[in-house]
């Protein structure tokens, strides 16, 4: 790379502890790719980090429009990172629409890098700007770097045989080069990636590599960039890491569970945002005895998974709210049949089609109660992208050991968000022992394990165990159809008690803070990261807060009932209109107070803190 001018220019370097960058541009600008490259480089460099893609539902929205803006946010630090960050320190905007949409998410005095060449009259008009914001006072109070990225990219690629349209497509690498200089990142990870990705296209390898280097050299050598930032490596637990999204982690968790149970994994699914990636990733692993079945609809997806489970596979289905609604009848059926099944809901904005690419926690009550009759299903929630691995493994293990469907709740935020994951030692992950009825003994389909109340399964193919089951009420022990009133009452209670008993087989979450005091915050799911920040900041302010983050929402942990009565204020922040809080109030008769926001976005740390202080004040 060029260093001729760098020696003449004095550049300052500042050390920063924590930086949040937002990349934004047209959905065709390669923003997700750029963000992912910055993430890989940063992870390998050794910072802790967390990322969040924020893209439109339209696949290729008309260029330059506000609704076609695709964003990618990353927070990285030399300290712990719990979230992709609230407001960003740096905005890299590839066109006026991206600037307009993202400006509200930038800190005061934040850095803006824009592609000046994209600020044409037409693009300004599409973004709804009457005046060019680079020329009026719109961006006063920010540090603006307007760089002619398109022009500079073309100049850098002047000798490339690519067509000019293809050359222009390299401009995201130019922007990435600038970001690498500004945050002192090495280029090798991305250069290697380009080489691998475009293996058989040497012209494209060359052009993208040139553009990346050119962006880096430009920032290094021109006078407009005076300062770069150093973010030291974070102190993290030693071991082998990879960056992982929530949906990838779910897939690995499921495969791990099926291998540890020595079973085939069968996933019946139907494409739906933001759960489709689970089907995509699983379908790659045929050699891990994973069978995926893209069914004709959501109902057939879960039906096939139940059929496979009956035949001896680990049955899994994955969807999002609207798809889960369609599966409802089959979930009640799985409760009646008492078959193992993992049901994954990657929640998105609702109701109805709602906000498919946005996040929400509003399907908790659907998971708890969304079926006819008394049909309790255990509900577990993942708290972060990497945590999806353990949550999925645990969901599968409980489903198999308790012969029950299990709901695993994730959401768009952690499904698509990514963070470094300490890869576990596979030898230390416990085996899952699945016991079938003894083929030498006569078989009673609804005989139960006296401890867990799980029923004894016997697979088709087991001689002498031929039996018939269905969705009609079962007679206790024999499993024959029964309309007996007392038997129905007994079976309803048995199915409920089975779910309650699994509390004895799961890890009790620990309260963070004192077991009595002024404020107890109770949360579940993907708000975990934000709540880490909330609690840290409140304690830094000198406020004592305790925090209980739920793993299983059904059944609730044993200790919560006692602890929850020991606080003056019980506060329940959720990305919904108050769903967990209804359960807690009903279960414990406490006057808990909600903090709710339903914008399709994760909480902002400060908003939660303000809301908690407001509740404290009364």
């Amino acid at each position: 790379m060029s260093t001729q001018t760098s020696e003449k220019i004095q550049k300052a370097q500042k050390t920063k502890k924590r930086i949040t960058i937002r990349f934004a541009g047209d959905s065709g600008d390669g923003i997700q790719l750029t963000g992912n490259q910055f993430t890989s480089t940063t992870a390998i460099f050794g910072n802790d980090l967390s990322t969040f893609p924020d893209y439109p539902a339209e696949i290729r929205a008309p260029a330059g429009t506000l609704f076609g803006v695709s964003g990618f946010q990353i927070q990285f630090s030399s300290d712990n990172v719990h979230t992709p960050g609230d407001d960003s320190d740096v905005l890299i905007a590839m066109n006026p629409a991206a600037l307009k949409v993202s400006l509200g998410l930038l800190k005061e005095n934040g850095i803006i890098i824009v592609n000046k060449d994209a600020f044409s009259d037409r693009n300004l008009k599409l973004a709804g700007y009457d005046e060019n914001p680079l020329e009026d006072r719109t961006l006063d109070g920010y540090q603006l770097f307007d760089v002619p990225i398109t022009k500079l990219t073309r100049e850098a690629l002047i000798d490339s045989p690519l067509k000019s349209k293809e050359k222009d497509r390299c401009k995201n690498f130019f922007a990435l080069g600038i970001a690498y200089w500004m945050f002192t990142r090495p280029l090798d990870t991305t250069l290697d990636w380009i080489k691998n990705k475009f293996k058989n296209k040497p012209d494209i390898i060359e052009a993208n590599s040139l553009a990346l280097n050119a962006g880096y050299s430009y920032a290094l050598s021109t006078e407009i960039f005076t300062t770069s930032y150093q973010i030291d490596q974070a102190k993290v637990e030693p071991g082998l890491y990879r960056n992982i999204t929530g949906n990838e982690a779910i897939v690995l968790g499921l495969i791990t569970a099926s291998q540890k149970a020595k079973m085939e994994l069968f996933m019946g699914g139907y494409p739906i945002t933001p759960a489709s990636d689970i089907l995509h990733y699983l379908s790659k692993y045929r050699n891990y005895d994973v069978k995926t079945f893209q069914a004709e609809d959501e109902i057939a997806g879960v039906g096939a998974a139940i059929g496979a489970s009956y035949a001896g596979a680990l049955g899994v289905t994955a969807s999002s709210g609207p798809g889960i609604a369609l599966k409802g009848e089959f979930l009640g059926y799985a409760v009646m049949m008492e078959l193992p099944l993992v049901v994954i809901n990657i929640q998105r904005g609702g109701p109805s089609t709602g906000l498919p690419t946005k996040t929400e926690q509003a399907d908790l009550l659907q998971a708890m109660y969304g079926r006819n009759g008394e049909a309790p299903i255990p509900v577990i929630a993942a708290q972060s992208p990497a945590d999806c691995f353990e949550a999925a493994y645990e969901a599968a293990k409980i489903a198999l050991q308790f012969t029950t469907p299990v709901f695993l709740l994730s959401d768009g935020y952690i499904a698509n968000g990514a963070e470094p994951w300490l890869i576990p030692d596979t030898d230390k992950i416990p085996e899952i022992n699945v016991k079938y009825a003894d083929p030498k003994e006569s078989y009673q389909p609804y005989a139960r394990n006296p401890e867990t109340l799980s029923r004894e399964l016997s697979l088709p193919g087991t001689k002498g165990h031929e039996h018939r089951l269905g969705g009609l009420e079962k007679e206790d022990i024999t499993g024959n159809v029964s309309y007996d009133p007392d038997n129905h009452d007994k079976m309803i209670r048995l199915r409920a008690e089975k779910v309650e008993r699994l509390v004895n087989y799961i890890n009790e979450p620990k309260i963070d803070g004192d077991e009595s005091g002024d404020v107890l915050i109770v949360t579940w799911g993907s708000t975990y990261g934000t709540m880490c920040n909330v609690v840290e900041e409140m304690r830094a302010n000198g406020d004592a807060v305790s925090w209980f983050h739920l793993r299983w929402i059904n059944p609730l942990p044993k200790s919560l009932g006692k602890i929850i009565k020991n606080f003056k204020h019980v506060i329940v922040p959720e990305i919904n209109m108050g769903q967990l809080i209804k359960i807690l109030r009903a279960e414990y008769l406490v006057d808990a107070k909600p903090v709710n926001q339903v914008k399709g976005l994760p909480f902002n740390t400060q908003d939660v803190i303000d809301a908690i202080y407001a509740i404290k004040k009364g």
């Binding site: 890989s40 992870a43 291998q259 057939a300 035949a311 089959f330 193919g461 031929e466 269905g470």
Partner: protein, 334 residues
């Protein structure tokens, strides 16, 4: 193969049969119990799957593995069973409401995929278990509890649906023709791929006599043509008429020894003949065909899936969990 010879009693479960006395389902149950031992499959390797409706009680009465599913969804459950364990012989028992109305979507996709299961669809042209509403196969104008002034809907033909959506074995039989029924069920069960049998079944409570013209010994021979391999389509009380293939459709001719007519040949058939035969059903001037409309060999979904798993294993090696977890861009913190 089983080492002991099974009988129909071996396939009779201890459950009391609870269909209305005189229901056509009894005949289908009896013929199925008779056929099952002839398949040479141990009964523990047989799974009957059903949805909801009178017909869907069927699995309770067969002493094999059985699943009574939910309304319309038997094909989904059965697909999962067969794909998870291709060694099992899977039957689906459904009706015109369960299989063609609420579950119509699943059935066409089952046919399209050619998953190796056998579907027995009991068509009585009525909803029986819900006590007498019109079904997707009820004729237009039918007076029922939900259509007191006559149904406004056109019926559709399950055979044409099965042919069009790609089932590889398509046949029809009648509850009152026990021998034909048994033979048809046996052929369907032995077919590799999705096999479909529409069984005309009399509901003597809510739609008694709907198939009378095909079952009344006095007139049935004039109204039914039995499709038999290698034989022309001869019918009539005196076996005096024949279906002749002319310009892409069938017409009725008098049968005399000298004339040459199209011969039923499953190996050499094509879709125009198959559909033309199916078309006869709705034509009141022509006989209704029973027997096999189609029997072709095609790769099954379950067979291809098993092969795909083997191929991927061969190419990439059996899955190694440690390798899987540590794939992608990794870095080590010391």
């Amino acid at each position: 193969m089983s080492d002991q010879v099974l009988t129909k009693e071996d396939f009779t479960s201890d459950q009391e049969v609870r269909w209305c006395p005189g229901c056509g389902d009894y005949s289908i149950l009896a013929q199925t119990r008779k056929v099952l031992p002839q398949l040479g499959i141990p009964k523990e390797n047989i799974v009957f799957v059903s949805g909801i409706g009178c017909s869907s009680r069927f699995p309770y009465y067969i002493d094999s593995f059985g699943i009574h599913g939910i309304h319309g969804r038997a094909p989904a459950i059965a697909s999962g069973i067969k794909l998870a364990n291709p060694d099992l012989k899977v039957f689906i028992v459904t009706g015109d409401g369960d299989g063609l109305s609420i579950g119509g979507n699943h059935l066409i996709h089952l046919f399209r995929r050619n998953i190796d299961v056998t579907v027995l669809l009991f068509n009585n042209r009525i909803y029986g278990l819900t006590k007498g509403q019109y079904s997707p196969t009820s004729e237009r104008g039918k007076i029922t509890k939900s259509s007191p002034f006559g149904s406004l809907e056109n019926p559709f033909d399950p055979i044409k649906m099965a042919l069009a959506s790609g089932a590889t074995f398509v046949a029809r039989s009648v509850d009152r023709e026990p021998k034909h029924l048994a033979e048809t069920i046996k052929m369907a069960a032995e077919h590799v791929g999705t096999s479909f049998v529409e069984i005309y079944q009399n509901c003597n409570i809510f739609n008694d006599g709907t198939f009378e013209s095909l079952t009344d010994p006095k007139i049935k021979k004039d109204n039914i043509v039995v499709m038999e391999e290698g034989k022309p389509y001869i019918f009539g009380k005196e076996s005096d008429r024949v279906l002749a293939w002319e310009d892409g459709s069938f017409s009725v001719n008098m049968h005399d020894e000298a004339s040459s007519s199209l011969v039923h040949s499953l190996a050499n058939s094509n879709s125009s003949v198959e559909f033309a035969l199916a078309e006869l059903t709705m034509d009141e001037h022509k006989p209704t065909p029973i027997g096999v409309f189609r029997k072709i060999n095609k790769n099954t979904y379950d067979g291809l899936l098993t092969k795909q798993v083997e191929n991927v294993k061969e190419k990439l090696g059996s899955g190694d969990l440690e390798k899987l977890l540590s794939s992608g861009n990794t870095w080590e913190i010391k």
